[in-house]
Symmetry: C3
Subunit: 332 residues, 3 copies
Amino acid sequence: MATFVPPNVRRVLSPHLPLGDHREAPFYGRDILSVSQFSRNDLEYIFGVAKEMRAMVERVGTFDLLKGKILANLFYEPSTRTSSSFLSAMERLGGSVIPINEVTYSSVAKGESLPDTIRTLECYADVIVLRHPEVGSSALAAKYARKPIINAGDGTGEHPTQALLDLFTILEELGRVDGLTVTMLGDLKYGRTVHSLSRLLSLFVVRLNYVSPEILRMPPALVEELAGKGVSQKEFISLEPVLAETDVLYVTRVQKERFENLEDYEKVKGVFVITPETLEKAKDEMVVMHPLPRVGEISMEVDEDPRAAYFRQMECGLYVRMALLAMVLGKA
Amino acid sequence: MATFVPPNVRRVLSPHLPLGDHREAPFYGRDILSVSQFSRNDLEYIFGVAKEMRAMVERVGTFDLLKGKILANLFYEPSTRTSSSFLSAMERLGGSVIPINEVTYSSVAKGESLPDTIRTLECYADVIVLRHPEVGSSALAAKYARKPIINAGDGTGEHPTQALLDLFTILEELGRVDGLTVTMLGDLKYGRTVHSLSRLLSLFVVRLNYVSPEILRMPPALVEELAGKGVSQKEFISLEPVLAETDVLYVTRVQKERFENLEDYEKVKGVFVITPETLEKAKDEMVVMHPLPRVGEISMEVDEDPRAAYFRQMECGLYVRMALLAMVLGKA
Amino acid sequence: MATFVPPNVRRVLSPHLPLGDHREAPFYGRDILSVSQFSRNDLEYIFGVAKEMRAMVERVGTFDLLKGKILANLFYEPSTRTSSSFLSAMERLGGSVIPINEVTYSSVAKGESLPDTIRTLECYADVIVLRHPEVGSSALAAKYARKPIINAGDGTGEHPTQALLDLFTILEELGRVDGLTVTMLGDLKYGRTVHSLSRLLSLFVVRLNYVSPEILRMPPALVEELAGKGVSQKEFISLEPVLAETDVLYVTRVQKERFENLEDYEKVKGVFVITPETLEKAKDEMVVMHPLPRVGEISMEVDEDPRAAYFRQMECGLYVRMALLAMVLGKA
């Protein structure tokens, strides 16, 4: 939030408010930067709004809640999935979008700072969604912006809306979060989605299993942080011992680009592949999730299994992002 | 069309229907993949709707027939013309668009399959327009999609909406199709537009002349296919013998990139150039068409001739695409 | 304006009108190509509409003045700032946008001429905003177009909407233009913004100071042109002698790419940097402006000074562009 407001600027739209200032409209004017900003009550509120969004979309497709509002969808890194999801969320709420995908070719290439770009865009838009390769970029943007910033991924940092949609999917699929056993599989060292999701899950009573190759284990610091919050955690090198008790199997992609040498990658890729045979030993009432895109770590035959929830997970992303946009613009 | 529907997915929008299932709303929920899917009755229906679209655009510019609907405009290859045309069509119908032009830099670059990309996008959109460099990509997309797919060009395969707008232009310009002599000029070997258009024309009583250099003749298999449908066809190496009898002169670009060696290209480029002098020997009541872009094969002086229909052809594209979008979304 | 209109084209939207033809709706159907097309009366009219736009945006955010109209935002060169500004302007007026940013990869790469691209796009849009690297491209486009063209920068040529927003900002910040002392600082040789702004200022009674390094002086031909209009002009090599009398300090970026050798650039970069200390000697009632992006020529500490008007200047751009779009479409 900017500390300085030029005296002769007349404010057009909602001012930034300090956290928790508006009891009637929680999140109005606030930034969405990190999963650590949410309490359990916040999550219940967000998911309540997301459920309403789902109901409205199913009934009427689109409605005019944010008619007249403009979203600047500012992506310094390409991400078709996330940018399309925010774009659709804004359009289904009747708002408009300034899509900025080619930002690296533009002002930025001329050396403009992120704060300047943000302060320019907020002249044109009412809310800014930001994807940026550097950790902390969203917090930097929010420091200078008068309009709300939604972090859509800042490098290896945070991607809070992904974690929110993951948790909302669990709730929609299984009806509850407390009491569940969540097994995270694959690249647990570099995957920011599993880090953020595990932090959100720590607000609930869950058991977490981490299944990964030795070199891709969950960061010890994070394990310790979660232990400090009383989360029950166990680590494994294969899925077999925990599959039968698993309610949510959260699969992540082993990204080649994360590895320093190709040999390490070749060793682990393909070891953690989910097939219909894998799921034979799983519960009937469980779900397989994945942040997508996948590249072979879940075989396409699994898609036809009712427990394969990853495309429904994408849809949940739409409702959660609709909820967040409506909330920060004071319309939820 | 997907064979599997997860039991706990609540359907938001129109389900895919088998061909011809909805007599009250033909094409509702259907894919537009190939010219071979259309009967003469279908064409009459489509062109009737396109005429209504033209009348509405002329009267009010834009209207809210598809308000609340979202089009994902997914272009793996750039095509300003086609993507702008679909975008405008959707916006003139009051709908919204998710424009995706930089797809090669994104999820796809990470190795995601086309079916996964499609199944993600259909979480956010109501209809998907797909341009893709590989033959059969639209059919593959349609196999997995629950929402309608419109093929906007799949490599050297099909570009059905181009053929439909070509035929609609002939109808709008000359008032009929039966009885016409259509002369196709230029690259008849590699040009998918002439292949698709000739197939559509085979549903009518027309005479086709093919004028091309020897190495760019119409594919013999296609000539045979059309002959089997009773189409009268003749081949020439110059325009002169057939110009006077021609009602529609369909000019195509000789694309450098189609040639395996540059010498072959240099031999033919420039031989088939249309100038005002060329048209002196043509009928008063005829039209010159071109799918555009042109690079010299029709000189700019021809643009002022009332018979030059290629820019009006572009406009017809708008009305045909509006018709198709409205139809597959059940609103025509 | 095209000289030829095909007889069987039914006109959908407003025809191009000769300059000054519509006294009730000035600028209706006209192109915005150059600052030299505006009289002082024109400017007063434009700024009056821009003020109304500001009032409406502040009151309701967005309104439906241009509902049903489509803007083709055609950028051959990337410019996040300018393209976002036009996009937001059109959306705040309830209109739709066809954003075309990747044009170099597309038809144009296949060799299509600018007139053909324009004549294609005007089949889909009601007004075209054009950014193009070549001087005179907008005039060329306007020659062939039936729909209004707005020049958003043609190489080292003109960028009239930037000059209009600069002048509107002065008016909004200081309440008048006549009688002011305007000091232009930095790269006065290559910067088209200072050239265009000084031409617009010549319609008012102002004093102009030019402060630049020797090799970046205001072009003598322009100085002579303005002298011929009775403008009082003075040149300096440092800001010090004129700062105290300055009402408007217009700072421009010294662009590395303008220099033929790097040594010349290194000599001047950093010499003309504005800091809080610089402004200690300036009036209380003055403004610092900058077309942005900046790369260090105004330090970020200056942003908190109420006289720093450059972000408010960006906002003024929105209102001016809303005004121009509404005017050329006959709705102002």
